[in-house]
Symmetry: C2
Subunit: 198 residues, 2 copies
């Protein structure tokens, strides 16, 4: 069984990816399992670049193949913002996820509805410096002037998925792990599936 | 010593007004002191109308002379919003004061700074149906992309007062009760001062 390090210190993200990857025959590690303690500055100009920066850093620190993910919310009426800048979207250091949601609603006030949006994820498999693969996933929806649901994180409570009649934060974990941007990036990741084969 | 009922269930506002009125020779009551339990819908189209609606209701319920206050934040770049609609500004029922601040910052994103603003207060003295007086106070400042200070409430943490180099929420109570919109409305309220004389 191959070993794979998930390049994230975020417990939420690790849980999600573990569940999404559970059908593959892999032994997953989080950085802490290996004594790896890294804060990686996401200075890239794209999801791919940010995922690559994280994957490289965690590969160098661990020697293991690494799966990195970089994701963001893109709102059409804001020309794709917050995008890869989701965490720097609010010009205020100690903003919480909830603060960011209300800031986003303020940004959208007065713009014609529906406020179409999509969550975007780039998953990147870094086996070594010569074998790097990536896959993208998108989950379309719209921003609503409401704040609903206790699951998830980030902009999930204001991101509504019409087919499900729920916000991303209202979805059960099972459903989220089938239809989320992150799930879709992994579902279409042939290189990952091939590599994972025993 | 004349009796005066403060027409507000808001403990913050009662404390502030008590301090601001402390130089007058009045015995102040809050509604609960008199067993008055009223929720008044602020359906007016101006600070004055809202203050009058509240004052009338509390006067009818208590028989006492009443001091009512209606206040709001006016932001120039938003054509005076949130104004008297401060509480309905965020289109979401359970929004907190902090949520409203971040929503406001979102509304202002991209608009040229400085984001000039003013807190506005209308204080209204309702002695009886034939003796009604009012006074206005304004505290000018600007909205900043920060969230500073633990005192105060509402939009105070994002309202910066250049002369003091502090947000409204950073001011000491003593200073706030000298320079706030509410303080200024009372300071200039000659009818109140004359009526309060023993």
């Amino acid at each position: 069984m191959k070993k794979l390090l998930i390049a994230s210190n975020n417990a939420h993200k690790f849980e999600e990816l573990s569940a999404i990857l559970s059908h593959l025959d892999l032994k997953l590690f989080k950085p802490r399992d290996l004594g790896v303690d890294l804060e990686v500055a996401e200075t890239g100009n794209s999801y791919y670049e940010n995922a690559l920066i994280k994957a490289q850093a965690f590969h160098e620190a661990s020697g293991l193949p690494v799966l990195a993910d970089d994701s963001g919310l893109e709102v059409m009426a804001l020309d794709g913002l917050p995008g890869i800048h989701s965490h720097r979207f609010v010009p205020f250091g100690n903003a919480t996820d909830r603060d960011r949601c209300f800031y986003l609603l303020g940004r959208l006030a007065g713009k014609p509805e529906p406020w179409l949006a999509a969550f975007h994820s780039t998953a990147l498999l870094y086996i070594n410096a010569n074998e790097i693969y990536s896959s993208e996933g998108i989950c379309p929806g719209k921003i609503i002037t409401d704040y609903r649901g206790e699951n998830g994180f980030g902009f999930d409570p204001v991101f509504y998925i019409p087919e499900q009649k729920q916000t991303m934060a209202e979805l059960s974990s099972e459903l989220k792990n089938q239809i989320s941007h992150r799930a879709r990036a992994i579902q279409g990741f042939n290189a990952l599936r091939n590599w994972a084969k025993p």
